[in-house]
Structure formats: structure tokens, C-alpha cells
Symmetry: C2
Subunit: 195 residues, 2 copies
Amino acid sequence: MATKGEQTREKILAEARQIFKRKGIRATTINDLLEAAGITKGNLYFHFSDKEAIGLEVLKREQRLFYDFLDQAFSGKSAAAGLDNFFCKALEKHRQQGFVGGCLFGNTALETSDTAPLFAALVQEVFAEWINVFAEKIAAAQTARQIRTDLPAGELAELAVVTIEGGIMLSRLQKSADPLKRSLETLRRVLELEI
Amino acid sequence: MATKGEQTREKILAEARQIFKRKGIRATTINDLLEAAGITKGNLYFHFSDKEAIGLEVLKREQRLFYDFLDQAFSGKSAAAGLDNFFCKALEKHRQQGFVGGCLFGNTALETSDTAPLFAALVQEVFAEWINVFAEKIAAAQTARQIRTDLPAGELAELAVVTIEGGIMLSRLQKSADPLKRSLETLRRVLELEI
């Protein structure tokens, strides 16, 4: 069973994640975190040295969750079915959030890349891994002749990732699934993925 | 000739634009603006009621500049040459900035869409206009049989815009032109644009 201290730490991280997604790490104040977690300043500083330490821990957890998501979301009877499944799962994931908060990595990329090298490095790692995994899945579908083979897998993988990030941005802006849905639809057609 | 007051107002807006791009509107404080513009608080509040008013004015100017950019960047001897020119100009524009600051509209979309409806509405308008203009140019190139015609112009236009925004995000994160360059390259191939 978690100790009271562990529970407090978890509470801080859970609340911080929500606020960071909505407001961004930089604009979030220590007071926002205290208020959301319902704790005192002394309590917070007992667990974390500063907001950056909380930000980094939230990002690291999000990274692990996202890698788990990548592991699972590409599953399917064939490589092409795996790609199709990923597109569905990505839309589903963001639909569940009601297009609030968007993608914590994309947000942090835009928010901190000019000013917080530690966050930027982690986010860079996440995008590189995502593109890598995507490229493997695309290459497998190409080998099986299930999608177009005239463009390199790495290039198509990067296109998929930037398209999804851009689509999430527009969907979040419009508070509607439509832009992301259309982006994924177009990606399917562009990949010549037929399921 | 601009009066001293007008000069101060311009100075505030010019400095605010730079800081907003780098830090985001929300994380920028009034003190950041005072320091950058080298003015007093009284001076700033003489010109603007609050940070939101400055943010809105900066976004409106950026919108006008961007519409001018759209007007010019698509020029070319043919519709296809216009598309090609736009891709070159978009890369050039961001290369000149050294991939610092990125796209103020994209940043603001992620930063404020959950919390600042006035900013979100303006940014939505900009993206809608951009997709519209792109769709017209793509449709013209399709009519001239210069690019693929099997997908609707509007769909390809939205793909282009989300890809460019995602590409800018990755380029900004990596402080390298490469991701945006590759995204534009892949877009060209996907559109079957040959120049």
C-alpha cells in the first residue's frame, strides 16, 4: 500500500499532468499546482525541488505511457491492419480527451524548445522513437506489398507523425474530431492503405 | 512622421511579438514586456488595457502579414510552379528565423485553444483561410493536370497545412531545417508535383 507521502507525490503528478496539458508547463504556477492538489507549499517542496522537476517527471511518465501505447496500438493480423489500428487508436485516444490538452509532447515541443533544453531533449527522443516504430511498421507493410512501396518507409513515417501532430493541433483548436479524422483519412489514402 | 506615442506603441508591439513567439503569450509577463520595450508600466497601460489586448493586436498584425505572404508566395508561371514556390518560401521564411519562435499561429493554437476563445477564434480563421487558398491553388494545378487528381483539393490542402505545421514543430524542436525540408519534400511527392 502506498504511504501517505507516496500518495501526495502521486496526487501532485496527476494534477500537474492535467494542468500542464491545458495551460502548458511554463504558464503553470506553483500556486496552480498547490490549489489543484490541495496541499501546502512545504508539502510540495518536500517532494520536488521545483516546477521543472515536476515537469520532467510528468514528461518521463508520459513517455513511458506513450511507448506502451505504441507497443499496443500497432497490433493487427497484418502489418497493414496494424497501421490501420494505430490510426483508429490515435483518433480514439484524443476523442476520449474531448480534444482538450492535445498532445503533451507537441505542446512541450512548441512551448519549451527555445528555452528548456532538458524538456526539449526528452520530447525529441519521443518523436524520434515514434518515427522509428512507425517506419518499422510501414516497412513491414511495404515488404508485404500492402501499401505503396515507391517512397521510403522513414519518409512516410515522418509524414505520418507530423500529419498527426498537425491534425491534433487543428482538432484541439476547433474542439472537433474532424480535422484529425480527415488528416488520418488522407494519410491512409496517401499510403494506399486498404483494409 | 510617427509621434512619440505612436513610436512607443509600435515598440511595444514589436517586442511583444518576439517574446510571444519565443515564450508564448500566456507565459509572457507584463514585466517581460516592460523590460524589452524599456518603458514604464504607466506608459504601457496608456496604450493597452492588458496583455490580452497586446496579444490580440500582435495576432491581428501577424494575420495581415501572413495573408500578404499567402498572396505572394503562391506566384509562379503555372499553378504547379506556384505550389513549388510556396513550399520554397515557407522553408525560407522559417530558415531565416533560425527555427526560433516557429509559427505564432500554431503556438497560439496549442497554447490558448483551451482557455482563450478570442485568440482561438482568430487563429482558427487564419488556418481556415490558409487551407482555402491552398485548396484553390491545388485545384488549379489539378485542372491543369500538373499534380495528382484522384484526391479532392480540399483534402490535400488540409494535409499540406497540417504537415507544414507539424514539420515546423519538429524543426523548431531540433533547431534544424531538416524535418520541415523533408516534410515539404514528401508533400511534393505525395502531390505528384513535378517541377
